[in-house]
Symmetry: C2
Subunit: 344 residues, 2 copies
């Protein structure tokens, strides 16, 4: 077996959902967009449904169709891109609930699928998805007459708990929705951790379920181990990898592992990344290449059969730091070549 | 339809293979590892076989099994990670040719699959895969008695045509292989462009087939168009996206398109990236998020239905530059959510 092994702990996934539900004390949805944050939407979705989730969010209708097949007819599946042209059959056929983002989408939805459930996204300052306050003022009586199932918005700075934008958006959301007899949702993982004022009727954690920050108390969900193809002795002064990017300062043992940027191991992390083996950290040397990474294993007492990049010793966020990015990107970039092992 | 459309020009793919074969004037293989550089190994492999390729290279045995199903029994499929433990059934069942990297792999291969074809990788200075000169000296009589099908090595600096490492590795390869009656291969795309001295008996282009540098004369193979979900007016002083990363200096129209880092649109490109529409370039504003990108379309005369990231106006290498990386990473990161359209 020459591909890496991605081990996914379904017990940790369920535990993270329960922990966030306990903090929220309101309906707790599960965001499983981007193929279940890179882990596999069908398996992840089914397990979260077994854990108790009854509301799911995906980014696009195509993901909703796959998730509906996996979950059966019970749970609500909401689509964050709303109702796009060409999606009516998917929305109707898989009974998806589009989160309408604009007046255009609203008109299109009511015309294409009259009486089909929908929710409404409101923009409270992120300026990315949802109706602006002025649009909402003009449209809301008409929209409310169509019985939307949810009013939602999204926080721009919830990963920074003391950012003043959080309270600004909360107040804006309150102002746009108060007194309306429709369930409301503002918080994803970050917002769930900001306190009761942000919870409204439903929270929608995503990253926290999968073990990522800002849910610092999350259980790690994945481990990623890459097999060693060969180990070589490199003399002082010899170079390793593309563009001779690394030069050995002393005689070294270099392991070449199977895995590279084509597997979502972001190329930019090269000069900073470390692997782990038997409690020791060992540095990447040279450039990350498409299918291969070279690691200085001189310090290890015995030749390793595999090296671990993500796991108990090194979180997805730590790996994100190596590439000056976030754990979210590390997770959702995990490639298709790994052998996936699901454990409880 | 709320996902992006990735259009793959099979005619351009075949034309690039023919152009490289014409330059090489020797057997011209096709490297289709990493799922055919992100485009789909089965379709890409079949089309290159129709174009005339008879030798294919993949990174791992698992890819070889998929490719063999797509190609049938004719072409040679070589595996660059060699013969890893656990791969004997795949290698035998799909008739794959492992490129043996070490003495350990050699012993394992001959024991597990006696008389099964194999090639040998030699390290000529990259220190990543293949036997060192000293190992090769010790082993070569034994290895040659087993009738290897190919002796190969890989250049570390071939994308820089004037790098002295190229000639150093060529001479080393010549030294390690001259006078042996076994076909030899040193060059991938970059090496193919370095001239006849680097071609030996077979060249193994990868990136050049798919329209990427260093094959500057390549025809572009892909276009990537992302649909617009909504367009909003943003007042001067308003912020857009996560962490309020962008502030409008003047009244602006901001389009939110469907696509993000979960689709392989590398998050680091945010501050530099541009999209194209009707001959005009429009800048990304704010951060690339998981499923969404915000673009300032104020300059466009009419509201766009979609925006193009990759195509005739902007190559995979230009997009790589936005993220301080290479076109190779852009290609092999292309995500699974796109609708793929194959054109001739």
């Amino acid at each position: 077996m020459s591909t890496g092994t991605l081990t996914i702990d379904l017990g940790a996934l369920a535990a993270n959902w329960h922990a966030l539900a306990k903090i929220a004390q309101v309906e707790t949805a599960a965001v499983v967009k981007a193929d279940g944050y890179g882990l596999g939407i069908e398996r992840v979705g089914r397990h979260l449904a077994e854990a108790g989730a009854r509301q799911f969010f995906v980014a696009v209708a195509e993901e909703g169709v796959i998730l509906r097949r996996a979950l059966g007819s019970g749970p609500v599946i909401s689509v964050l891109s709303g109702h796009m042209h060409g999606d009516a059959d998917a929305i109707a056929g898989a009974n998806l609930t589009p989160m309408i983002n604009s007046v255009d989408q609203m008109l299109h939805h009511v015309e294409a699928l009259p009486a089909h459930p929908f929710g409404i996204q409101l923009d409270t300052g992120m300026n990315r998805l949802g109706m602006e306050p002025s649009e909402w003022s003009a449209l809301r009586e008409i929209a409310l007459a169509q019985n939307p199932t949810l009013l939602m918005s999204h926080l721009a700075c919830a990963d920074e708990s003391d950012h003043p934008m959080n309270e600004h958006q909360r107040a804006q959301f309150e102002d746009m929705t108060q007194g309306l007899d429709v369930p409301r949702s503002l918080a994803a993982t970050g917002g769930t951790l900001l306190g009761d004022d942000f919870h409204f009727d439903m929270v929608r954690p995503g990253i926290g379920l999968f073990g990522g920050l800002p849910f610092a108390a999350a259980q790690p969900v994945i481990t990623l181990d890459l097999p060693v193809i060969q180990i070589r002795d490199v003399a002082a002064g010899e170079t390793v990898g593309y563009s001779n990017a690394w030069t050995a300062k002393a005689p070294s043992k270099i392991a070449t592992v199977s895995g590279g940027y084509a597997d979502g191991l972001i190329r930019a992390m090269g000069p900073n990344a470390k692997f782990h083996c038997d409690g020791m950290a060992v540095p990447v040397v040279g450039r990350i290449s498409m299918d291969l990474i070279t690691v200085d294993v001189t310090a290890l007492p015995t030749p390793p059969a595999s090296l671990q990049l993500i796991g108990a010793k090194q979180s997805v966020d730590a790996v994100g730091d190596f590439a000056s990015t976030i754990g979210y990107e590390v997770l959702t970039s995990l490639g298709a070549r790994y052998t996936r092992k699901w454990v409880q």
